[in-house]
C-alpha cells in the first residue's frame, strides 16, 4: 500500500512534526499536521478497522494525539474535543489493546480538566466512572497513581468540598503535570474566585479589604475594589459590606397563596375519589 503523497511519506511527515514540536514551532506543526491527516485519509486509517495494519493505526493514533495537544496549546477547546472524539475508537479498538498509547492518560486528563473548567460535572463523573471501572479490572494501575488523571480528580474533589485554597495551591504549585494543564489554571482560578465571592457574601457580615484580598487571591487592593464593584458590593471605610438577603420577607405571602392552591387541589382530588 503506497503511503506517499507527492513524494512525502507518512513517516517523514511525522518526523517533521516531532521536530516542529521540539522547536515549539506552532505554525509549522500545524502545516505538518494537515499533511499527515491527508495521508491518513488516503490510507483509510482515520477510523480504525480490521483491514488496516496495526502499525499504521498506531501512527494514526499518535498523529491525532499530537493534534489534540496542539489544539490545547492554541486554546481551542472545540478542536480538542473533536480530536478527542476521533481518538476514542482508537483507544477502544480491540486490535490495539495490547499496545496502549503512552499519551492516552495525558489526553484523557486534559479532557477531564476541560470538562471541569466548563462546569460540566455530569460529563466529568461519567468519564471518571468508566475510568474507575476499567481500573478495577486491570487491578494494578489505579487512578491515584496516574498523575495526569489524579490532578483533575483531586481538583474536582477540592472544588466540591469547597476547600478553594487547595485548588489555588494545586493550580499554582508544582503538582501540575504538564504545561498544557497549566493553561487551564487561569480559568479555574476565575471560577473559584466567583464561587468564593458568592460564599463570602452569605457568610460574612462585613469584610476588611485586606482580608478580602487574601480570601479572593487577588493581587492588590485596587483589584479588590474593582472586583467588589463588579459584584455590586458597597465599600465603606476600607470594609466591604455585603447586601442583605432580600428573599426572606417575600416568603410569607407566597406561602399563603401556595397553601390555598394546595388545599384547592386536594379538595378536587378527593372529590374525584368520593
Amino acid at each position: 500500500m503506497p503511503s506517499a503523497v507527492g513524494g512525502i511519506s507518512l513517516e517523514q511527515v511525522q518526523h517533521n512534526l516531532q521536530q516542529c514540536l521540539a522547536r515549539k514551532d506552532a505554525a509549522g506543526a500545524q502545516a505538518q499536521l494537515q499533511k499527515a491527516k491527508l495521508i491518513l485519509l488516503q490510507q483509510n486509517s482515520l477510523v480504525p478497522s480490521e483491514g488496516v495494519p496495526v502499525g499504521q493505526l498506531k501512527t494514526a493514533r499518535s498523529v491525532l494525539e499530537v493534534g489534540a495537544l496542539l489544539a490545547i496549546r492554541r486554546r481551542d477547546p472545540d478542536s480538542f474535543v473533536r480530536y478527542y472524539s476521533q481518538l476514542q475508537p482508537f483507544y477502544e479498538f480491540s486490535g490495539l489493546q495490547s499496545s496502549p498509547s503512552p499519551n492516552k492518560s495525558q489526553v484523557t486528563g486534559l479532557y477531564l480538566l476541560l470538562l471541569l473548567s466548563q462546569g460540566d460535572y455530569a460529563g466529568f463523573h461519567t468519564l471518571l466512572e468508566s475510568l474507575i471501572v476499567s481500573e478495577g479490572i486491570n487491578g494494578g494501575k489505579s487512578v491515584e497513581d496516574d498523575i495526569y488523571i489524579k490532578y483533575p480528580v483531586d481538583l474536582e474533589r477540592s472544588l466540591m468540598e469547597g476547600s478553594y485554597d487547595q485548588v489555588w495551591r494545586k493550580t499554582n504549585g508544582r503538582d501540575v503535570p504538564g504545561e498544557e494543564f497549566a493553561l487551564f489554571s487561569e480559568i479555574l482560578v476565575h471560577t473559584i474566585r466567583s464561587e468564593i465571592a458568592s460564599c463570602a457574601a452569605r457568610s460574612y457580615p462585613s469584610l476588611s479589604i485586606a482580608s478580602a484580598k487574601n480570601l479572593l487571591f487577588l493581587d492588590s487592593e485596587g483589584a479588590v475594589s474593582e472586583f467588589a464593584q463588579e459584584q455590586g458590593w458597597s465599600l465603606e471605610e476600607g470594609r466591604i459590606h455585603f447586601p442583605g438577603l432580600p428573599e426572606e420577607k417575600k416568603g410569607q405571602e407566597g406561602d399563603q397563596k401556595e397553601v390555598i392552591s394546595h388545599m384547592v387541589q386536594y379538595a378536587k382530588d378527593l372529590e374525584s375519589i368520593v
Binding site: I132, D165, Q166, I196, S203, H262
Partner: protein, 569 residues
Amino acid sequence: MSGDKGKRNSVSRPNDHKRKDSKSKSQKDTQKPKDKVGDEEMTVVVPPSKGDAGKNEDVAMNGTDEAKLKDPPVDPKAKAIADIKANLTLLEKAVSLFDPRFTLRVLRNIPSVRKQLSADLLARVIIETYTTPTPTSFALLKALGDEEGFPRADADAWVKKKDSAQSASKKSDTTPKEILAEVDVYFSILIQVYFYDTKNIESGAEFSEGLIGYLKPLNKRTLDSLAARAYFYYSLFLEETDPKPPSPNAAVVSIRKTLLDALRTATLRKDQDTQAAVITLLLRNYLSTSRITQADLLISHTQFPDSAANNQVARYLYYLGRIRAIQLNYSEAHDHLIGATRKAPTSYKASGFYQASTKLLIVVELLMGDIPDRAIFRQPSLEKILSPYLQLVQAVSSGDVNAFQNLTQKYSSVFRADSTYTLILRLRQNVIKTGIRMMSLSYARISLRDMCLRLGLESEESAEYIVAKAIRDGVIEATLDHEHGYMRSKDVGDVYSSNEPFDAYSSRIRACLALHDESVKAMRFPMNQHRLELKKAQEARERERELAKEIVDGEIDEEDGPGGDFEGI
C-alpha cells in the same frame, strides 16, 4: 373471540420470577386451577390455590408423610413431562382464544419444571410431541445431541420415521397435526434454561443465536412474551462468555446491533413485551461496559411501553436510577429507585433484585444528604448483605472522615462488585458537611482551628472556605468572623412554624394520590361481569320496589307503632 383484542388491559402482575442474579424458584406459583381452562367464558381471576404447589412440595420437602400417605410417590420426571404436555395445550388455547394470559401461565410454570430438565427428558418430550419430524424439531434434537443422557436410540428411530412418514403422508388423507410455532419456541426456551442451568455457555449461546434468527421473521402476537424470554436468555448467555464485561472487548458488545434491530422490529410491530425486555437488556449491556452516554441516548430516543410487565418496569427504573445517579441528578435517581424497590418482587427466593436496588437507594439517599431509615437494615432478607452499608451510613452520620476513608478501603471489593464504588467515593464531601452541621448545632461559637482539627481538614483556610460554602449551600445557618477566626451559629427557629411540615405532608399526599390513580388505572375487570352487575342491579331495584310497596301497604297498619314512639319525645 376477537373482542378480546381490545380488552387487553395492562398486565401488572408479576409474570415471571426471573431475576438477573438469582435463580428464583418461587414456591408460590400462581397457578390457577386447571379446570378453569375449559370454560368458554372469560373467567374471573381466582386467587392462587396452594394445592397446585403440590408438585414442588413433593420434590423439595422430603419428610412430608402426608403426601406419601395420600398417593403413591409420584415420579417427578413423569410429572414434569405431564406438565410440559399440559402447557402445550395451554399454548394452543392461547393461540385460538388470543389471550396472552395462557402464555404467561406457561412461562410461570418454567421454574417448577426447571429442576427436572435433562437432555433425556427433553428429547423424549420432543419425540412424543412431534409425530412427524419437522426441520425445527430436528434442529432442537441436534442441539441436545451432544449432552449426556441423550437417548440416541430413540432419536435415531424417530429420525427414520421422518423418511417413512413422508412416503406415508402422500398416501393417506389425514394430514399430520400442525405443530404451532409457539410450541417450537417454548421447547427452545426450555432448552435454553437447561443449558443455562448446566452452565453450558457456548452451546447455549450458539443455540440462542439460532433461535433469535428463527424468531425474527415470525410476526405473531401470541409469540410476544415467549420471544421476550428468548432474548433474555440470549443476552444472559453472551454476558457469561469470555471476555466478560467490563472489559472493552466484551462479547456483549457484539450483540448490541442484534438487540437494536430487535427493538426496531418490536416497536414497528407494537410488540410491547419484547420492546420492554430488549430495552432493559440494552441498558444492562451499556451499563456493564460503562457506556453511560449511550445508555442515556437510548433512553431519550425510545419510549418504554406503558403496559409492560411489572418486573420489566422495575428493572427499567433501576437502570434509569443508576444512570441518573452517575450524572449527579440525585433527586430523579431517588424517585426512580423508590419505584423500582416498590415494584420489586417480594418472594424470598427472588430477593436479589430487591437487595441490589436497596443498596443503590441507600447510597443515593446518602448523596442527597439524607440518612436512610434504620428500619431498612433490619429486614431479614437484607440484614447480612447490607452490613457494610450500615457501617457506611454510621460513618457518614457521625461526620468522621477518617472512619469513612478506612471503610471505603476495607470494603472496596464489595462496593466494586455492587457497582456502587464510584458513587461512594463522592460521599467524602457529605461526611464533611454532616460534621459541620453537627458542630453548628452543638456549638454557639467555635473557632475555625477547632473545627479543622475535629473534622480532619488540612488547614484553617480550608475550614474557612468549606464553612462558607456550606453556609451558601444552606447546610447550616451561621456567620463567619474572619478577623477573629470563628464561626457563630444562628439560632434555628421553630420548625413547626415554618413551611416544612406542610411540604412534608404535601409530598406524602401527592404520593398517595398518585398511587390511587395508578391503581384505578391498573384495575382489570373480567369480561362479562358488568352484565352480571346489571342483572344484579335490576334484581335489587325490583326488590326495592316490592319492599316499597309492602311498606306503603303496611304503613297504614303500622302507623301507630313507630309514630307513637315519636310522640313520646
